[in-house]
Each structure stands twice: as structure tokens, then as C-alpha cells.
């Protein structure tokens, strides 16, 4: 059963790659404005869980609902549209387009959605200010530091005002100080926009920025809140 009021929820998710069960009955739920950390050892299935929740990977069985709608019942086109407009993504290595300037990178999701250049770049600058990287707008990703590049990537994830942000090891490539700054700005910006954040991390200090933690082990999830 889907927990009441949740924006994104999964029940009894199963996914196998050949003989290996990546997910073996995992559960998940998140409310608007909530930050949930997904933790677990390497190979535990946490990335598979994130990919299923984001509609990138289709589970073998189980249910995923977004805003009350079953993800598996949607057409591929509808799921793609969801990923473009209502989901935002932050990866370990920013994955910015090297040929574009930072402001063009942040504006890109809006440009792909058909927003005019001036309007898209103005929105991009707003988020770059929030992430304290407005001064690197004209630079290309190769010309900025790792910490700045990651904050540019966060701004890009937020620019479409998504309702869910999927962050997969967003501080994995950063030193402690830059990692802290990224987490602080990411969670503040997401909370103020009432966006939910699904945060996959193996660092507990990063997970401490969340409201709640789910541990995945051997494809099964445990809601740590229910333990205490």
C-alpha cells in the first residue's frame, strides 16, 4: 500500500539482472519537500532503486506511483516527459556539456522544453545565484573547479522547478568543504521549492542532511526511522 500523502512511492520492487537479484522486495516513499537518504554497501541495489524510481529502469515486478499515477502504466513518452519536466538529476560527476558555457548548461533543460533563450538564461542565472556560482556563467565546465561544476549541475537540476530531485552520490567527487557546501545549498534550495530529494550516498555525513534514511542491503530496504 502507498503511504498516505507520498509524492513518490514504491512497494515490493523486484529487479534481477540475470541470476542476480538487484532488488528483492524494496519499499520506498517520499513526501513533497522531504529529503530521503538511500544508503547501503556497494552492490546493495541502491542505484537500481534510484533508477527504478526515476523511471529509467523498469522493475520486473512491484509498483511505483508518482503523484498517485502508476509509472508502469504510463507510455514511454509520458515517462520521458516526466523525467524532463518534473524530475531533476544530479550525478557524481556533474555531467555538464563541455562545449556549452555554464549558464547555457543550466538553461539547457528549459531550452529543450522550448523556452526562449533569454528567458531560459534568466531563469538559469536565478538558480546559479542561489547556488553561488553566478560568476562562472560565461565559463565552460572545464574552466571551473569541481565544486563549482557540481553546483552548476545542481542549478541545472533545479531550473525546471522539478518536484523530485534524484541525486546519485552528488558529493562523491568533492572534498569535504565543497561537499558540505553542495549539500547545504542543494537541500536548502530543494526545501524552499518544496521539491523532494532522493539522495543516494555512502557518506553518512552527507546522509545527515536528510530527514530520513533508508538502508538497502541485498536488494531489501529498511526504513531506519522505524527502528528507533
Amino acid at each position: 500500500m502507498t503511504p498516505a500523502g507520498s509524492l513518490l512511492a514504491a512497494t515490493d520492487l523486484r529487479k534481477a539482472y540475470g541470476p542476480t537479484a538487484a532488488l528483492d522486495g524494496a519499499e520506498f516513499s517520499i513526501h513533497p519537500g522531504e529529503v530521503v537518504a538511500v544508503m547501503g554497501p556497494s552492490g546493495s541495489g541502491k542505484s537500481t532503486l534510484l533508477h527504478c524510481l526515476a523511471g529509467i529502469v523498469t522493475p520486473d515486478s512491484g509498483s511505483i506511483t508518482y503523484a498517485g499515477h502508476e509509472l508502469s502504466a504510463m507510455s514511454d513518452g509520458r515517462r520521458s516527459a516526466l523525467r524532463r519536466s518534473e524530475f531533476g538529476f544530479v550525478f557524481q560527476f556533474g555531467q555538464l556539456v563541455p562545449e556549452l558555457t555554464c549558464v547555457e548548461n543550466v538553461a539547457l533543460p528549459l531550452r529543450l522544453a522550448g523556452v526562449k533563450r533569454k528567458e531560459a538564461e534568466s531563469a538559469a542565472l536565478h538558480w546559479m545565484e542561489r547556488l553561488q556560482v553566478e560568476d562562472v556563467g560565461a565559463k565552460r565546465p572545464g574552466e571551473v573547479s569541481g565544486g563549482q561544476g557540481q553546483r552548476v549541475a545542481v542549478a541545472r537540476a533545479l531550473v525546471t522547478r522539478p518536484r523530485v530531485i534524484f541525486a546519485d552520490e552528488p558529493t562523491g567527487a568533492l572534498d569535504s568543504l565543497n561537499g558540505e557546501l553542495v549539500m547545504q545549498l542543494l537541500t536548502e534550495a530543494a526545501r524552499s521549492a518544496n521539491a523532494a530529494v532522493v539522495l543516494v550516498t555512502h557518506e553518512t555525513r552527507v546522509a545527515a542532511y536528510s530527514d530520513r534514511e533508508i538502508v538497502v542491503r541485498d536488494g531489501k530496504s529498511r526504513d531506519m526511522e522505524r527502528i528507533v
Binding site: 554497501p41 553518512t204 555525513r205 546522509a207 531506519m224 527502528i227 528507533v228
Partner: protein, 174 residues
């Protein structure tokens, strides 16, 4: 933390009354545990006896709380030596947690459950500290970071132990 050395260090900046000392201590170091008045005065009388501080003046009205203390030359030397001395690293080799895990295994209880409960409690405290850090100044951030790194180290131990429970179970039952 050595309260005596900390109070001495605070006095090195200039003479203070006992009450001022307590206030300065609480403001800078007493995040979770403010100093009790009694502790300030008992510490000061020990430092006085050892010649590390002296009474710099007594305000009219008398009473022990009216004393103003100043650090002596011997006190400055003592602070200097304390700051230069590295702290003994404490590896907690026989921690309560380790004992609990082994006892759980020996008595057939769920060691994994015990580790999970502890993990959740550690993370709960880490969240509180992270919140405090977000709202606090640089001093708060440094104090909280110190605690956070230690808790993180504990958590890594909890994870590694959880991954080794089967092996540990076989060894403790041997």
C-alpha cells in the same frame, strides 16, 4: 577536556571574576555542558593553591564570588605545556558496542538488529548536529564537525561489523 587548563587559558587574556570566567567558558566551549558555578570555584581554589593563579583584587562586599583572578607566570608556563602536549588518541579498543555485539552473538540475540538500532541513533545525532551547524557560526561549525567526523567513524565501524557478523559469530562461539 581539562577545565583547569581551559580556565587558565581564558585568564591569560586578562584577569576576570569567577562569574566572567564561567560565562566565557560556556560561550566558547560549553555547548552541551555549561560549567557549574561550584566547579569554577573549586577549580580556581585548586589553581590558587598550586600557584597558577593569584587574586588580583576583591570587590567591596566580600565573599568568594567577588574575587578577581589573574594568571601567574607559572600558570602561563602550565598553559604553554598543555597546549604543546598532544592528546592521547583514544582508539576505544574495548568499546561498549563491541561488548554488546559479542554478547548478542553469544546469547543468540540479533546482533544485526543491535547494530541497526545503534546506526539509526548515531544518524539521528548527526542530523541534529548538521542542523545546528547550518544555523550556527563558524565556531559552532567547527565543534559540530569534530563530533560529526567521530560519529562517522563509529558508523563505518558499525557497517563493517555488520558485514562481518557471520564470521564474528563463528569465531566467538568457537
Amino acid at each position: 577536556m581539562s577545565i583547569g587548563h581551559t580556565l587558565l587559558g581564558l585568564l591569560e587574556a586578562g584577569p576576570r571574576h569567577g562569574y566572567d570566567l564561567k560565562r566565557a567558558f560556556d560561550e566558547k566551549f560549553g555547548h552541551d555542558r555549561p560549567l557549574a558555578y561550584g566547579q569554577v570555584y573549586s577549580t580556581m581554589s585548586r589553581l590558587l593553591k598550586n600557584g597558577l593563579v593569584e587574586v588580583d583584587g576583591i570587590e567591596s562586599g566580600g565573599g568568594p564570588d567577588r574575587k578577581r583572578y589573574a594568571i601567574t607566570g607559572a600558570g602561563v608556563t602550565d598553559v604553554e605545556a598543555w597546549l604543546a602536549q598532544p592528546e592521547k588518541p583514544e582508539p576505544y579498543l574495548h568499546s561498549t558496542l563491541y561488548t554488546k555485539v559479542v554478547l548478542a552473538l553469544l546469547t543468540g540475540r540479533s546482533a544485526a538488529g543491535l547494530l541497526d538500532t545503534q546506526r539509526a541513533e548515531h544518524l539521528r545525532l548527526m542530523r541534529i548536529l548538521t542542523q545546528r551547524k547550518r544555523k550556527g557560526d563558524l565556531a559552532d561549525q567547527l565543534v559540530c564537525d569534530h563530533a560529526l567526523f567521530h560519529l562517522e567513524a563509529d558508523l563505518r565501524w558499525l557497517e563493517l561489523t555488520a558485514a562481518r557478523l557471520d564470521q564474528l559469530s563463528r569465531e566467538v562461539r568457537r
